[in-house]
Amino acid sequence: MKKLTPAFANKKMDGLEQGMIPNPEKKSWSRLLKGNSDLPMEILILFLLVQFICCLSSIIFPANFRYLSESNISVLLKAIPVLGIISLGIGLLMIAGEFDLSVGANYTFTGIVIATLVESGLSAFLAAPLGLALGVLIGLLNGFLTLRFRIPSFIATLATMLFWQGMTLLYHGATSIRFYPGDIFTNLMAGQIGLMETSFLWFVALSLVFWAVLHRHKFGNHILAVGGNKQAATAIGINPTRVKLAAFGLAGFCAALAGILAASRVGTIQPGQGAGIELRAIAACVVGGVALTGGRGTILGVFLGAGLIYTIEDILLLLRAPGFYLDIFIGILIAGAAIFNQLVRERMVR
């Protein structure tokens, strides 16, 4: 449409000494810590520190703290992807400035729909894409309610959360449903390659895609802009409704994918299984440095946030601590992460 020839290039830039242009490759340590890059240093350091301590403890006390045992690693790799994938969707949506409380209900409902389709004879390879499409539709409906009627997404998705929870019971009843998609599908979704779990590979792959979208694609730039300052984004010609709607759809997609992975792993779906997972996903995002107000956050942060929550759960299990300790620790972690992020931001924008 237009050639990008800066008006000043011919005149002013000619006399410019090469040395005056800051070296683009130079990144100071303090700048990294100030959080202006795509690298969430704080959570990365915390995550590595926790892993280091766990590994060290496991080497020193191999009998009491079996963190590095094969069975424990496999448990961790199995547990992380479901929450992790939901968190990726929620994280992107939160960065765009919106919430989705209905992802847990979406996760259960789409899982049950897929399971009944498979039970009625449809191939899982056809049922799964249908389920994913349903998840996207549920996400888009949230976006429509929020954006069309200008109500807070917190309220809109609280409503749809209850709606889809009810629909799950209406559609299938309160009993659990079996999920037998066949060996090939199960191995693809919840199989093992050596020590590695395929579900974890899916999580890593999706994280890479989301990373590329948020940090390297122009759509990601629009998400950051709309979440950071909707007025500015609009003034510059970005359509916030379209950007947010797409983020809602992606959150729905992630919820449905997590539902498929969970069902393949366990072989059954409980109508109540999704309860509370939306809050844990939001927790993973907050721990990973995503701002509740939108505009800030990284995919690596969300990835590590989900990983950290499960690592802590795992540590407590290995130490045979009663279950309520988990809630106490996660509570402290969320508050700590939120306070820390706030302090960093205030120092940055000083």
């Binding site: 000043f8 242009i21 730039n221 984004a233 940055m348 000083r350």
Partner: protein
């Protein structure tokens, strides 16, 4: 950037066909605009010539911002025509005015605090490959050059700095750098100096003058007559949605302008 076959908007140019090479870049004729019962603009004529800086003066509620929004494509007139290069044109969106070569700079410049300077400069107009992935290195290099170029923003050493950490003046300089890089022909500044320090204001006025040499016309909305008189070539005073005065610098004095603004 996306091609739009459905519109026939061409960038403003001083040597447009039919304008004889000396016509206005942009001309508004008989514009009316109301917000419900409030008549914000009444039968307004307005034009921007090549290479001129216009001061848009008038009390609060006079309709200055509405006029700026109209040219930015954010607001549409109830009646009247907008002429570009001698042709009637509809500006239905910010995209349309962008194609025209218009950039608007607000008091709270349209920047995102939580994003880097580079990302802000290219926001909504990212340089991408055919798949839409951003050419980050290229954008960064350009941002780096723009920071050192015509606007020469003091105290910023890297285009990776978050805009939220900049001062008001530095932010506006970034917004202007954006306009400069994208080769805008008309700069609209709606009360850009109200949040600026004295030095930052002087720097801003200096940019506007420099840009005029490069062929960029500006419309400066301000309450400060002294600032306006420093840089502007033509003065337009508005009152209750109407133009009450339109004089060139040669035809007036600061005293006369003061009287107009105060009386109206």
């Amino acid at each position: 950037m996306d091609a739009r076959p459905d519109t026939n908007i061409t960038p403003v140019s001083a040597a447009a066909p039919g304008s004889g090479g000396v016509g206005p870049l942009l001309e508004l004729k008989g514009i009316n605009k109301s917000y419900g019962p409030v008549q914000a603009l009444t039968n307004l004529d307005f034009h921007i010539n090549p290479n001129e800086i216009i001061a848009l003066l008038g009390d609060n509620g006079a309709g200055k911002s509405t006029l700026i929004k109209l040219i930015s494509g954010l607001v549409q007139p109830d009646s009247g025509t907008i002429m570009v290069n001698g042709k009637p044109t509809r500006l239905n969106s910010r995209r349309d005015s962008e194609q025209l070569g218009v950039e608007t700079i607000y008091q709270d410049s349209a920047l995102v605090d939580s994003m880097s300077i580079t990302r802000n400069i290219f926001m909504g107009r990212e340089l991408t490959n055919s798949l839409g992935f951003m050419q980050h290195r290229k954008m960064r290099q350009i941002a780096s050059e723009v920071l050192q170029g015509v606007v020469n923003i003091r105290g910023i050493d890297s285009p990776d700095v978050l805009v939220g950490g900049l001062s008001g003046g530095q932010k506006q300089a970034v917004a202007i750098a954006r306009a400069v890089y994208f080769n805008r022909k008309i700069l609209l500044l709606d009360e850009p100096t109200s949040a600026l320090s004295v030095r930052a204001t002087e720097a801003l006025l200096e940019y506007i003058k420099k840009l005029k040499e490069d062929g960029v016309s500006s419309v400066l909305v301000t309450h400060n007559l002294y600032h306006a008189y420093l840089v502007c070539d033509r003065f337009i005073v508005m009152s209750h949605g109407q133009k009450v005065c339109d004089v060139s610098r040669q035809e007036t004095t600061i005293e006369e302008l003061t009287r107009y603004v105060i009386l109206e």
